[in-house]
Symmetry: C2
Subunit: 341 residues, 2 copies
């Protein structure tokens, strides 16, 4: 029931997802009297879903704390609980981000060794795509959080982008070791000296994100959220400039006509709908957040992200890596103690 | 002597600036044997400058601490000192940013009431331009720093953009009062309850920067630096997409031909050279940093920023505002003490 175009775009997106992944099955959480008429239009979903009825839905502007206290019978709460209870492999929602994160943390809990989950999503780059996290699950992160974001982002890139040894970069204000916030410098030291098999590239700067310097961009949720939205704003400004310029004279209008294909290709490359689906990484269950304004195509892609993460056992990978990341430190400590004997 | 194309672009930029502002006079700090032959080519500068000779120049990759210790005879140090000594109204440099900031702080000192200077620059928006600060002078800022950045940014917008009551926004991850970092929420409270004549808009998000929601964007230097560079990276990615797309087919190439004017107009709007010249705000003297890669046109614009700031007495405005911002707090305190008697 969440998102600007719900439940229509959710159900139509599920129909598209069933064409792509015929083996899927859905549990739809929401108002039966709204959902059932819509299901008449979508044969695949109708044959592959069950409805769990509830009349309570979290609104887009509900405060997370309020949603958590009052929303125990909501479609969002019940959907997340179905993952906890093993009735579903993943939840996908286009609803209130803050409420979804608060409820997911409460119901699913974090993975062993993870204290703060992170929001991860894909961004376009000169070389293809990269994963960036955290995009706003937290407003502050210390070096240990950032180190774990790196491990989770690495697992995400391997699972969703099919990469072998993704290059991991730490977002900073300069590439020199002396520059930057204390926690960023400390995370740099952790990553550089890590015994993990992380392909750590070092510091990157804002322009390196879309420049494609790395496959995984690690940052705190405040900086990540601002950077992502600033990039979206810059893209929107340029689109507006282009539109205005192509309308400005008859010659330009002819140009736009001949350039239709080219402009369409650019639009497609920048199409956020293709990259819809941000994962809440670090939770004991798979929760994918679709953009609130998602249409059916966009929501279908968010379902696709959930499918990839389930199929590639993202959480098993993360847990193995987190365990590994903790192990070498203990061994190193033993060796030092051994010398002292 | 600073910057990738120095001293040629500096001298040619000065020549262009003299066409725009015929009353200017320059003191050129650098190697006389390099500068003098170049001056033969620029009649206006030659007639309106003196040279202070030094053979020491700060390199682009010198560490600021090293530059400060070892660079006392450098062109950068001597140029900043000339402002301190009142021999020049402002310094403009395309050299090493960190070194320029460290030396400027040491030589010029901060204005009364300001503990941290900030780097401010102009960005393009849907409505025209906005001022954003801090772009990297500091990596951390508390609420009082942010509050003073707002006051300084307001003065900058009035001086350089000629605005009457610029709208001031605080960069955050959401527009709700509950969201964001502690220091950002505290700065919000300071600005909301300020007795100053600041046209405070409230929180803005990353996409609002180029969206033109406000005229002054206030943020800490870490976030500001990342956001600015991320926006630059996004613009570069789109330019690459466009170039590739227009080359992709004969029809698109024809389109590009007809669209030459339109594409040129967009390129011009996005031209960073027009907005070259970042001010180090909060120092007891005017220091303007040109982009390191500046060409003559770009460097001329950085000189233009310095001229505007001198002509509009930016520092007098800031000092008056900082005094005002401190005054009401003292009065309020007196009233409370009075009641207690």
């Amino acid at each position: 029931m969440g998102g600007d175009n719900a439940p229509e775009s959710v159900i139509l997106g599920a129909e598209m997802a069933l064409m792509r992944y015929p083996g899927l099955r859905f549990v739809l959480f929401g108002n039966r009297f709204v959902l059932e008429p819509l299901l008449q239009e979508v044969k695949l979903v109708k044959a592959a879903c069950e409805i769990v009825h509830t009349e309570v839905a979290i609104a887009g502007d509900d405060k997370p704390s309020h949603a958590v206290r009052r929303g125990r019978n909501s479609s969002m709460w019940l959907a997340i609980s179905s993952v906890k209870e093993g009735k579903a492999c993943a939840i996908v929602s286009a609803g209130n981000t803050g409420a979804l994160m608060a409820m997911s943390k409460l119901i699913l809990r974090t993975l062993p060794g993870i204290s703060r989950p992170a929001i991860a999503a894909l961004l376009p780059t000169m070389r293809g795509e990269c994963v960036m996290l955290d995009l706003g699950a937290n407003v502050e992160s210390d070096e240990h959080d950032l180190y774990k974001f790196a491990i989770m982002g690495d697992a995400f890139a391997r699972a969703v982008l099919g990469m072998n040894r993704p290059r991991v970069g730490l977002l900073n204000v300069g590439s020199e070791e002396l520059k930057g916030r204390e926690e960023v410098k400390a995370a740099h030291a952790l990553l550089k000296n890590s015994n993990m098999d992380i392909n750590y590239h070092g510091f990157i700067e804002g322009n390196d994100i879309t420049g494609g310097a790395v496959d995984v961009v690690v940052t705190d949720g405040f900086t990540g959220n601002v950077a992502l939205k600033t990039a979206e704003g810059a893209a929107r400004l340029i689109r507006t400039y282009l539109k205005d310029a192509f309308k400005s004279s008859p010659v330009s209008q002819v140009g736009a006509l001949f350039a239709t294909g080219a402009l369409k290709a650019v639009k497609e490359k920048l199409d956020d709908r293709k990259r819809n689906g941000a994962m809440f990484l670090g939770l004991n269950g798979i929760a994918v957040k679709s953009h609130g304004g998602a249409d059916a195509f966009s929501f279908c892609n968010a379902i696709g992200v959930a499918v990839e993460l389930v199929e590639h056992n993202i959480n098993t990978r993360i847990m193995q890596d987190i365990k590994l990341s903790q192990a070498p430190q203990i061994i190193a400590l033993d060796a030092i103690e051994g010398e002292a004997d």
